[in-house]
């Protein structure tokens, strides 16, 4: 991987890290309502895997989706505005943090329920011979949901070009993996005849390097594959709901993906990337805060739309 790519990878991760830190800051100041789940510590997964995809590929994300959204090229302004509930948000303020869409990106906050939908999308693209593949992101906690296994089975049975990306951050909300999962991730995929790779790293270059041939294989063979990434999140599950041992969190700081990458570039390059990200985020949040609120009257139109008649011919 050449130097310019190294710089770009850290730029992308810093954008996500600083964005998420700003989100938590805005929440603590009371300027955001609702809830959020930040991916601080897991940036290398989003940047490493999604960077190996093509822009036309599909990313299906979950409740912890801001990093995936930004890594796939989503507008930072539309993301910030959505979190602030503004009309200019990616979902017009209707979706919020967990329910975001732009062409090629979808997210939903229901654990595991997105997985069959991602399989259906990949099946559609295969039937259209578009060459597009789907990457769907699952967390370790999601493996408690039955529909996930139904989806693995059908994806393998029908040769569907979908990549299951597992981000094992070792906690489902407050519950450690040891209280959630019997057996392991890899064997679950192997049982369904899905090839699986596991990486115990937060090094974005290692993840990108591993992801590229995996993505190519999903595309070329039209078969599902799985990539399990063992990672760690530094921030709480949501906001201020952290009961983990601080010493444990401190232990993982040495594997902070940003710290790992910082060692690979000069201080000047790092500072430049940091300043650029700070500047973009500051401007973005400033602008989004000025954006208009959605008009509740629009809800009436939406309701009419959902009831809209479309008259069939009917013979008595």
């Amino acid at each position: 991987m050449c130097d310019s790519n190294t710089t770009r990878l850290i730029q992308e991760m810093l954008r996500i890290r600083l964005f998420e830190e700003r989100v938590l800051d805005e929440f603590s100041k009371g300027s955001l309502s609702g809830t959020t789940h930040t991916c601080i510590g897991q940036e290398a997964d989003a940047v490493g895997v999604i960077g190996a995809l093509q822009r036309s590929d599909i990313v299906f994300s979950n409740h912890r989706g801001h990093g995936h959204y930004l890594a796939h090229g989503g507008s930072m302004h539309a993301l910030a505005a959505e979190l602030m509930g503004r009309r200019t948000g990616a979902s017009g303020g209707l979706g919020g943090s967990q329910h975001m869409h732009f062409p090629g990106f979808y997210s939903n906050g229901i654990q595991g329920g997105i997985v069959p939908c991602a399989v259906g999308m990949a099946l559609a693209e295969k039937r259209k011979k578009s060459g597009v593949i789907v990457a769907v992101f699952l967390g370790d906690g999601t493996f408690g949901e039955g529909v996930v296994y139904e989806s693995f089975n059908i994806a393998a049975l029908w040769n569907v070009p979908v990549l299951f990306v597992v981000e094992n951050n070792r906690y489902a909300q407050s519950t450690p993996l040891s209280a959630n999962l019997s057996g392991d991730f890899g064997l679950r995929f192997k049982a369904f005849n899905i090839a699986v790779d596991e990486l115990d790293t937060t090094d974005v270059i290692a993840i990108r390097t591993a992801a590229e041939p995996i993505v190519a294989s999903v595309r070329d063979l039209g078969r599902p594959r799985a990539l399990v990434l063992h990672t760690y999140r530094f921030a709480p599950h949501s906001k201020g709901d952290d009961v983990r041992d601080p010493a444990e969190i401190e232990h993982y700081r040495q594997f902070d993906p940003i710290v790992l990458m910082r060692a690979r570039i000069s201080n000047e390059e790092y500072d430049e990337a940091l300043d650029a990200a700070r500047d973009e985020i500051s401007k973005t949040f400033g602008q989004a805060a000025m954006d208009p609120w959605p008009d509740p009257a629009a809800l009436l139109n939406a309701r009419e739309e959902l009831l809209k008649p479309c008259v069939p011919s009917y013979k008595l």
Binding site: V115, A124, L306, L316
Partner: protein, 337 residues
């Protein structure tokens, strides 16, 4: 006369012929078996690439259908027994019916989930229910129930090809063998279509040439057959005349034809095969009451299944499910008030 099952089978063939984005998925749907109720007979022979037999994974099927639909297909999913719809509830409520709205109208999810409901076949507590009431009132979901008064072929083709929102298509097991237009053919009742702004038609059936009707009966699906038997007997034996209103779209519901009829009859009876408690009839009463601007008083009653699981043994099942005699008895009581 064609049966409802023949008409639905024709509809599926025609929809797949007219639009190659249409896919059909379900358990045991391939020829020569052709589905547990033979809905898909001949389909996989004619469209081998577009008819998919699936594992027993109802939740995944509806999820996969949503994904297909979000990327331009028009999938139809068969759930073998309506009772198994419970397994799809999250996929319908939190996924299929949410995407269009929560993504701010940027996407559509044109899926049809169709399923046989209902009892009277002795299948017992988990294969005989009419659980559609649990799916009524979900924003973004249309719940459609065909009947034998009109041709269900047009309804299903419309749901598959023209309706861009998720549709739950409820077919009663006994309705499959009903002959379409048999009521009209018998010449006993006049059958017309009510004015409604909604997509799916609302039918009015009544004894012709009566100057004053005594009661309005609202019902849907296969129960229309049973209600019309009762209506004919009430007319012949008691000289009680009913206007029967049969919507094909249960939710969202346009209750205005029911309201208009009640204004004239002063009595309303709702009939459904599912349990009546917190059911479709309760919502009909609410809508009619809310819409009853001049505060005309009217008598009301519901007929539905007992609030019990459905027993397997025939005499027990017959006791629990609403019958012609129940409808006659309750109607006579209402009219006597």
């Amino acid at each position: 006369m064609r049966t409802v099952l023949q008409a639905l089978n024709e509809a599926m063939h025609e929809a797949m012929t007219r639009d190659e984005r249409v896919l059909f998925m379900g358990e045991d749907v391939l020829d020569p078996y052709g589905g547990a109720f033979k809905f898909s007979k001949g389909l996989s022979t004619k469209f081998p690439d577009r008819v998919l037999t699936t594992p027993i994974s109802e939740a995944a099927l509806v999820g996969i259908a949503s994904g297909l639909a979000l990327r331009g297909m028009r999938p139809v999913v068969e759930i073998m027994f309506g009772d198994f719809l419970t397994l799809t509830f999250d996929q319908l409520l939190n996924h299929a019916c949410k995407y269009r709205w929560m993504y701010n109208d940027q996407v559509r999810v044109p899926i049809v989930v169709r399923t046989p409901m209902g009892g009277r076949r002795g299948y017992g507590p988990t294969h005989s229910q009419s659980i559609e009431k649990h799916f009524l009132g979900i924003p973004g979901l249309r719940v459609v129930a065909p009947n034998a008064l009109g041709d269900p072929k047009e309804l299903l083709i419309h749901a598959i090809l023209s309706d861009d929102d998720p549709t739950l298509f409820i077919e009663h097991k006994l309705l499959y063998m009903s002959r379409i237009g048999q009521v009209q053919q018998a010449g006993r009742l006049e059958v017309t279509q009510c004015n409604s702004a909604l997509a799916y038609p609302i039918v009015l059936a009544r004894v012709a040439g009566v100057s004053k009707y005594d009661i309005t009966i609202a019902t849907y699906g296969y129960m229309a057959d049973i209600v019309l038997d009762a209506v004919w007997r009430l007319a012949m034996e008691q000289e009680i005349f009913a206007e029967v209103i049969v919507p094909t779209c249960l939710s969202p519901l346009d209750a205005s034809p029911i309201l208009n009829s009640v204004k004239n009859t002063g009595r309303l009876l709702t009939v459904e095969e599912g349990t009546a408690t917190l059911g479709w009839g309760s919502e009909v009463l609410s809508l009619v009451t809310e819409g009853n601007l001049k505060n005309i008083s009217f008598a009301f009653a519901r007929v539905g299944a007992w609030d019990l699981p459905i027993p397997s043994s025939r005499p027990l099942e017959n006791a629990v499910l609403p019958s012609v005699q129940n409808i006659i008895d309750v109607t006579m009581k209402l009219v006597a008030q």
